[in-house]
C-alpha cells in the first residue's frame, strides 16, 4: 500500500468502524434474542444505548478513571487504524495490549472490589489469549517474511491454508477477546454476572459510552484480523475475507448462546493447550 492508501484506510476505519461495529452489536443482540425465541431489540439498539449514556447525568467515583478509559478508546482506535493502514502486525498487537492495559487500569482506578476482580479476570484471560495472537504474527512472518499487514494482505495465496492451525486457535481465543460466553469472565455483555458488571461496574454515562464504542472498534478490528487470513491481494480475496469474518461473528453469537460461562481455570488451561497444540504446532510445521 502507498502512504496515501494507508492513510485513507485508517481514516475510513476511524469513520466507518463505529457504524459497522454498532450494527454488528445490534445483529448480535437480535440474533441472540431469536436464538432464545424472543423478538429482541431493534438492530440499532446499541446506538440508542450509547446515545442515552451520552445524555445522562455524568457521575464518576473519582477524577482519574476517565483518563484510562479515554486512553483505552484512543488506543483501540489507533490499533485498528494501524491495522487497516497495513502497518506492522506486531506493533498492532502491542498497541492492543496497551489499550487493554488501560481498560484494566480504568477498572482498578475506582477501587471498587467488583471491577478489580473483573480486572484480575481480564488479566488472566489475556494471559490465555495473548500467546495465540503473537503466534499468529509469527506464523505470518514465517509464511510471508514480513510482519506488515499490507504485505500479508497483498501476497499470493490465502493465509488460512498454511496457517490453518493458528486460524483455528485465533477463532478460539476470539471468544475470549470479544468477552463472550463461555469466557465472558471479566465483563459480560449480559448484565447478569457474579461480579455485578465486572470491570465496568463503576463506569457510567460518557465513560460507559466510550467503553461501548471501543468495543465496536475492537470488534471490527478483530473481524479484520479474521479477514486477513483470507485476503490474497484480489477483490475476491477481500470478499471472501469479509464473508468469513461475518460467519465468524455469527459463529461467536452461536457459541455465546450455546455455552455456560466456564471456570476460569478452564479458560486458562484451554487457552494454553490450544496455543500449544494449534499455535505452536503450526509454527513447527512452518519451520519445517
Amino acid at each position: 500500500m502507498t502512504t496515501i492508501e494507508s492513510i485513507l484506510m485508517a481514516v475510513a476505519f476511524i469513520a466507518l468502524a463505529p457504524a459497522i461495529g454498532c450494527l454488528l452489536a445490534g445483529v448480535d443482540r437480535k440474533v441472540s434474542a431469536r436464538m432464545q425465541k424472543r423478538r429482541g431489540p431493534p438492530i440499532l439498539q446499541p446506538a440508542y444505548d450509547v446515545g442515552k449514556f451520552l445524555s445522562k447525568e455524568q457521575i464518576t467515583p473519582n477524577s482519574t478513571q476517565d483518563f484510562y478509559v479515554v486512553c483505552f478508546l484512543l488506543f483501540t482506535i489507533g490499533t485498528g487504524a494501524m491495522f487497516f493502514a497495513g502497518m506492522d502486525l506486531l506493533l498492532v498487537i502491542f498497541t492492543l495490549t496497551l489499550a487493554e492495559t488501560f481498560l484494566i487500569l480504568g477498572a482498578y482506578s475506582s477501587g471498587s472490589p467488583y471491577s478489580q476482580i473483573g480486572a484480575q479476570r481480564e488479566m488472566y484471560v489475556a494471559m490465555a489469549y495473548e500467546p495465540v495472537i503473537l503466534l499468529m504474527a509469527v506464523c505470518y512472518y514465517l509464511e510471508y517474511g514480513s510482519f506488515s499487514v499490507s504485505d500479508i494482505s497483498s501476497s499470493d495465496g490465502m493465509a488460512v491454508v498454511p496457517l490453518i492451525g493458528v486460524f483455528l486457535a485465533f477463532l478460539f481465543v476470539l471468544t475470549m477477546k470479544l468477552r463472550k460466553s463461555p469466557f465472558d469472565l471479566s465483563l459480560s455483555h449480559h448484565a447478569h454476572q457474579d461480579i455485578v458488571r465486572g470491570m465496568a461496574t463503576e463506569f457510567s454515562g460518557r465513560t460507559y459510552a466510550m467503553l461501548e464504542i471501543s468495543h465496536w472498534y475492537e470488534s471490527v478490528m478483530l473481524l479484520g484480523m479474521v479477514a486477513l487470513f483470507f485476503a490474497n491481494g484480489t477483490v475476491a480475496g477481500i470478499v471472501i475475507g469479509i464473508i468469513a469474518a461475518l460467519l465468524a461473528w455469527i459463529l461467536e453469537i452461536w457459541i455465546d448462546n450455546g455455552f455456560a460461562r466456564m471456570k476460569w481455570q478452564t479458560a486458562l488451561k484451554s487457552g494454553w493447550v490450544v496455543t500449544l497444540v494449534l499455535g505452536m504446532g503450526n509454527v513447527a510445521v512452518l519451520l519445517i
Partner: protein, 635 residues
C-alpha cells in the same frame, strides 16, 4: 588511556576515602562529588571513544602480581569466613579455586603475555555509561536512603563507611570488567564484584542475610571455577589469555567451544540464570540501593556483558544452543514465578532474572539481530529496573512495607513517586517503551533463527509478564486509600536519582534510533563483520514514528485529567450497603472495610515448583551439552 585508568582507579580511591571518613556530612559531600566526577568521566570517555574502538598496550608486572596476591589473600579469607560460619561448602569451593588459581599462576600462565590489557569499544562504552551514570546515581540515592535505613535500624552499629566503601569499590571493579582485555584481569575484577556483593548481602548480619550471602558466594564461586577452568584450557591448549584473541578463534573447535561454554556458565551464574537464579532472590535482603546497583543494573549485567561479548562465538553452535535454551527457560519460568510474589523486591528480582534470561537467550542465538536486541534490552533494563528498585526502596521507607499489597492507592499518598513507578512499570512491558520494542526485535530474531523453544518461551513469557506488572500497576492507580500524603519526607538525593532515571527512561526511548546507530550497530558491524540496519525491521521509519507519537500522547494526555472532575462524584457501588467508597455495613453489624488483594495463583505458579523444573531442565541441558562438547561430539 589515562582517562580510562582514571575511570578505573578513581572510584576505588573515593571508596578508600569514605572508609576513612566518619562524619556523615563530609561523607555525603564526598560521595556526591565523587559520583559527579564518575558521571562526567564516563561521559567524557564515551564521547572520546565512541565509534573509535581502541586497545591499550598496558603491561605491568607489579599490577599483575598485586592482583594475584590480592586474589590469593581474598581466597584464604573466604576459606576462613566459610569455616567460621560453618559454611564448609564455601570453604571447599574457596580451596578449589585457590588450588586451581595457584596451579594456573604457577604452571600455565608462565610465558603468556597479553599486550593489550585494556581496551574500549562501543559495547564497553555502553556499559561504562550504564555503570558510570546509573551506578553513580544509585550511590547518590544511597546517601539519602542509608540515612533512613540507619534510622530504621537504630540498634545496629553505623557501618555506613563500610557500605559506601563497598559500593564505590564495586564501581571500579565493574569498570574493570568491561574494560579488561586480559582475562586474568577480567577474572580478578569478576571475583571482586562477587565479594562486594557477598559483603553487601550480608550487610545487616541477620541470619537470613548471612545465609543468603553465602548462597550467593557459593554459586558465584562455581562460576568463578568455570571461568578459571576456561582460562586454563585456553592457556594450556592455545596459549593466549586475551578476549580479542579468543574472539578471533573458530567457535566450532573442540576446546574453544568447551572454554566458551565454561565462560558462558560463568556468565550464566553471574546473570542469575537458572539453575543459579536463587542467589539473586536471596540478595534482596541487602539494602535497596545494593539491589539496584549490584543486582539489577550492573553486576548481573557483567554476566550478560560477557555473554554478549562472546556471542559471535556462539552463533548457531551447541554452546549457543545451551545459552539460548537456558535463557529462554529462565525467562519463561521466572516470569511465571513472579506472579506468585507480593513482595515488591522479589517481583523485581524475578523480573530481573527473566529479563536477563531474554538477553542471555539473545546472546545465545548469536545472530546480529538477536545481539542487537540483547544490547538494547540491557540498556533499557538497567535504567528502568534500577529506577524501580529505588522507587520501591523509597516507598518502603515511607509506607513501611515493601509489599505490593500495601501500595494500594500509592498514587494518592505519594503521587510523584507513584507516577515514576508507573512509568517504570509501563516501561518494563508496554509499547511504546524500550523494553517492549527490544522484545519485539528479540522475537523477530528468534523467528528468523527458527528456534521453536525460544519462540514458545517468549510468547508465553510475555503474556505472563503482562499479568504481574499490570496487577502491580493496578494497585498503584486505584484511589482506594485512606492514608494521607506522606511524600514530603523523601530525601532530595533520592529525588535526584529517581528523577534523573525517570528522565533517562523517557529520553532513551526518544533517542532509540540514535543509540542504535551511534553505538550498537557500529559494534555489531565490528563484531560480526557486516550488519545492515534492515535486519531490524521495526526500525522502519513509519514504525518509529508511530512509537514516537504514542510516546508523546502518553506523556501529554494525562495533563488535562487528574484535576477535580466536573462530574458528580458518587461513592463506589457496594451492593447497596455502602458506607462510603471503601466500606460497607457488614453481616455481623458494624462497618467493614473493603480490601482488595491481587491474585497470586500460587497453585498454578508455585515458585518452588517452577524453580525445580527450571533447575532440572537447565542442568540437564548444560551438563549434556558441556559433556558432549568436551568429548568432541561437535568438533
Amino acid at each position: 588511556m589515562n582517562d580510562i585508568l582514571f575511570l578505573l582507579a578513581f572510584p576505588f580511591v573515593a571508596a578508600c576515602l569514605m572508609l576513612a571518613i566518619r562524619d556523615d556530612r563530609i561523607r555525603t559531600a564526598v560521595a556526591e562529588v565523587s559520583a559527579a566526577i564518575v558521571i562526567v568521566t564516563s561521559a567524557w570517555v564515551a564521547y572520546r571513544y565512541l565509534g573509535q574502538p581502541e586497545s591499550f598496550a598496558f603491561h605491568s608486572e607489579t599490577i599483575d602480581s598485586l592482583m594475584a596476591v590480592t586474589e590469593f589473600v581474598l581466597g584464604l579469607a573466604i576459606i576462613y569466613i566459610g569455616y567460621k560460619h560453618k559454611k564448609y561448602l564455601a570453604s571447599v569451593l574457596g580451596a578449589i579455586t585457590l588450588v586451581l588459581f595457584l596451579g594456573f599462576e604457577v604452571f600455565l600462565k608462565e610465558g603468556i603475555e597479553t599486550d593489550n590489557a585494556l581496551y574500549i569499544d562501543d559495547l564497553s562504552i555502553i556499559m561504562v555509561l550504564i555503570i558510570g551514570i546509573i551506578g553513580s546515581l544509585i550511590c547518590v540515592y544511597a546517601v539519602g536512603y542509608m540515612r533512613d535505613f540507619q534510622k530504621h535500624h537504630p540498634d545496629d552499629k553505623d557501618r555506613r563507611p563500610w557500605f559506601f566503601f563497598l559500593m564505590y569499590t564495586f564501581l571500579s571493579a565493574m569498570f574493570g570488567i568491561v574494560l579488561s582485555n586480559d582475562m586474568t584481569w577480567l577474572f580478578f575484577f569478576w571475583e571482586i564484584t562477587m565479594l562486594c556483593s557477598f559483603t553487601l548481602i550480608g550487610y545487616t548480619k541477620t541470619d537470613e542475610a548471612i545465609r543468603n550471602s553465602f548462597r550467593q558466594l557459593i554459586m558465584n564461586q562455581t562460576g568463578g571455577i568455570a571461568f578459571l577452568l576456561a582460562m586454563m584450557i585456553l592457556a594450556d591448549r592455545y596459549g593466549f589469555l586475551s578476549i580479542d584473541t579468543l574472539l578471533m578463534q573458530d567457535g566450532e573447535a573442540q576446546w574453544i567451544m568447551v572454554a566458551v561454554m565454561l565462560l558462558a556458565i560463568a556468565g550464566i551464574v553471574k546473570s542469575a540464570q537458572m539453575p543459579f537464579h536463587t542467589w539473586l532472590l536471596g540478595a534482596m535482603v541487602a539494602p535497596t540501593p545494593t539491589s539496584a546497583l549490584l543486582h539489577s543494573s550492573t553486576m548481573v549485567k557483567a554476566g550478560v556483558f560477557l555473554l554478549l561479548k562472546l556471542s559471535p562465538l556462539m552463533m548457531g553452535n551447541a554452546c549457543g544452543y545451551m545459552v539460548a535454551t537456558v535463557g529462554g527457560l529462565t525467562f519463561l519460568l521466572a516470569s511465571m514465578a513472579a506472579i506468585s510474589q507480593s513482595n515488591a523486591k522479589r517481583v523485581l528480582a524475578y523480573s530481573t532474572i527473566a529479563n536477563l534470561g531474554l538477553i542471555v537467550a539473545c546472546a545465545g542465538v548469536g545472530t546480529p539481530e538477536a545481539v542487537w536486541a540483547g544490547i538494547m534490552l540491557t540498556i533499557f533494563h538497567a535504567i528502568t529496573k534500577s529506577m524501580m528498585f529505588l522507587c520501591v526502596g523509597t516507598a518502603e521507607h515511607h509506607i513501611g512495607s515493601r509489599d505490593i499489597e500495601s501500595m494500594d492507592g500509592l498514587f494518592e499518598r505519594m503521587p510523584r513517586l507513584a507516577g515514576i513507578m508507573i512509568l517504570g512499570i509501563v516501561g518494563m512491558f508496554l509499547a511504546p517503551f524500550g523494553m517492549l520494542i527490544s522484545k519485539w526485535a528479540a522475537l523477530t530474531s528468534f523467528v528468523e533463527d527458527g528456534n521453536l523453544v525460544l519462540i514458545g518461551c517468549l510468547v508465553f513469557g510475555s503474556a505472563v509478564t503482562s499479568f504481574y506488572w499490570t496487577k502491580w500497576l493496578g494497585k498503584l492507580v486505584c484511589t482506594a486509600s485512606r492514608e494521607g500524603n506522606c511524600e514530603d519526607t523523601v530525601h532530595c538525593q533520592e529525588w535526584v536519582a529517581v528523577g534523573s532515571l525517570a528522565v533517562l527512561t523517557v529520553a532513551i526511548c526518544l533517542m532509540y534510533p540514535g543509540v542504535s546507530d551511534a553505538a550498537v550497530i557500529p559494534w555489531l558491524e565490528g563484531a560480526f563483520g557486516g550488519f545492515s540496519e534492515d535486519l531490524v525491521p521495526l526500525l522502519e521509519s513509519n514504525n518509529m514514528w508511530i512509537v514516537l507519537i504514542m510516546l508523546v500522547v502518553l506523556i501529554l494526555l494525562p495533563l488535562p485529567f487528574f484535576r477535580r472532575t466536573s462530574k458528580r462524584v458518587v461513592p463506589n457501588y457496594m451492593a447497596g450497603e455502602g458506607v462510603d467508597s471503601m466500606s460497607y455495613r457488614g453481616s455481623m453489624g458494624g462497618t467493614v472495610e473493603v480490601s482488595m488483594r491481587n491474585w497470586y495463583m500460587s497453585g498454578w505458579f508455585d515458585e518452588d515448583r517452577l524453580g525445580k523444573i527450571g533447575e532440572v531442565l537447565t542442568v540437564i541441558v548444560m551438563a549434556a551439552l558441556l559433556a558432549a562438547a568436551a568429548l568432541g561430539v561437535f568438533a
